[in-house]
Amino acid sequence: MIRFIGGRVLGLVLVLLATSFVVFGAVHLAPGDPVSFLMRGRPITPEARAALTEQYRLDEPLLAQYFHWLGGVLTGDFGRSVQFRQHVGTLVAEKLPVTAILVGYAALLICAAGIGLGILAGLKPGFADRAVLVGTGIGTATPAFASAIALTALARTAGWPTYGGGEGFGGHLKHLTLPAIALALAFGGLVARVTRAAVRDELGREHVEAARSRGIAGAAVVRRHVLRNALGPVVTVIGTMVAGLLVSTTMVEIVFSVDGIGSLLIKSVTNKDFPVVQALTLLIVATFVVVNLVVDLLQPLIDPRLSLTGRGAR
């Protein structure tokens, strides 16, 4: 167990290292000059340009810049934002809560609606099943930003609250409902479909019929033998969904003018604010890897045949 986690943590570090290099390289290879952005097109004296180049180490070779940056990251220093002239860490910490609430809210909606509809469709063939299939098909095919735009239009005509900052946690929650729904529409369908397939699969198992043959009540058979056994694939798909959710958040935040890390990321990419882009990309990758580590640790609890140490595995 400890060896397994140790191995996975090592893997996590390697993935982050590789990602950090790719991101660092990509940002620096992209056309455009941070110094020009800093001066906002104003003329600049050669001395000033040299000073800025010195400050951001733009004249050093890429690898040297990378290792300098990496050294900073390891000590918790992600550098200074070019556009906001603030420490990246402070900046991200400031914007993170609202995005965390939004993603958590959306994940909650996705799990509740996706799993609920999936169970309904799996257990009740016929109209309910077909309705869920069609609905989730449309939802999955529509990108989150498209539903976001449609929802803002709808909200404007209906007079619902769109995002306006919000006071405290409750205020955030109220104003983040529509963005969360936009995200949930795009990802809930996938969860619903995987849940439906898993429930169908388990319903056809002989141990389910055997449980019925032992006189166990229908509701208990569904709860203890169908849903319990269908959990594995559902947890896996929710884990892999997290990365997509974080990426889609950026567009949804822009559409709803939510001042979170999604908006920050888009602004930073447009403005060549490379320290921020690097930090946020690393954050997204790290979240994805950590969530999937948690999913892998959960699987043996769901299905005891998937023992971590390999002992007793078939």
């Binding site: 141990h207 449980a211 043959s213 032992r214 033998h225 056994n229």
Partner: protein
Amino acid sequence: MALLDIDGLSVVLPSGAAARPILDGVSLTVETGEVVGLVGESGSGKSVACRTVLGLRPAGARTSGEVRVSGRDVLAMNRGALKALRSGEVAMVFQDPRASVNPVRRIGDFLTEGLRAAGVPRDRALERAGELLAEVGIRDPRGALRRYPHEFSGGMLQRVVIAAALAGGPALLLADEPTTALDVTTQAEVIGILRRTQAQHGTGMLFVTHDLELAAAICDRIYVMYAGRVVETRGARELFDAPRHPYTAGLLAAAPSLEPDATPPRPIPGRPVSLAENPPGCAFAVRCGYATDRCRTETPRLAADDGGAVACLRADEGILTC
């Protein structure tokens, strides 16, 4: 009154526009304490017949006839009565213990689930589960309760399944090919446990198998099924020594024998047909060496003869003695 009395049971599956028959007029009885074999090839409908005794019907199936357990018709029971029947009077042992036990729940859970549903308190149910495991020869029953199905061998897990079947103190045990999925060495052990517990509790048993010799060895009486119908029934000894249906004789001739001077096994030519694709006349006629034109047009009825019954138009001609 017989413990189990299946009377003229027919099952029809609706598949699209054309209804597909599975069973046609199957009748059989099991008395208290009696072991009755139900033998046939795959697709003969023996498992379907067995499962209807618990009210388990294929999805959308229409049934006619009666399946009476202690005089009460299972097919007419409401949900509550069925639940009581399944958790008490009748229990079933399935073919493959790996498939019939939920792999993600503990053995203790599996064994106590039925008892708990019947209102037995948790501690008492666990105690009873331990006793049942000891009865079927599981070492360290208390420890076994905390283990998962994949930690048991197939034979050991089938013992657990038998223990679970005995939990409700059933009067009738249904065994649907209980040894087919097991290693040969463990088959004998499982059969031994089934026979011993059945004799101890005076339980009636319906033993479904494709192995006529195994059935002959452990059953009092045997029903042979072909394409959804019973084609022959009589006492196990008589059936084994002097079969009167060509299909029964073919099954016996198809089994290899260890005797030095035995004839090599002769397979029945052709493949088993289901009731649905059944031509008019006797379903076995296309594979039967004795079939006449009459066999291909006239469906034989199960007619009583000395000590049993046979459904063959030429049974009285003594064709099988030569």
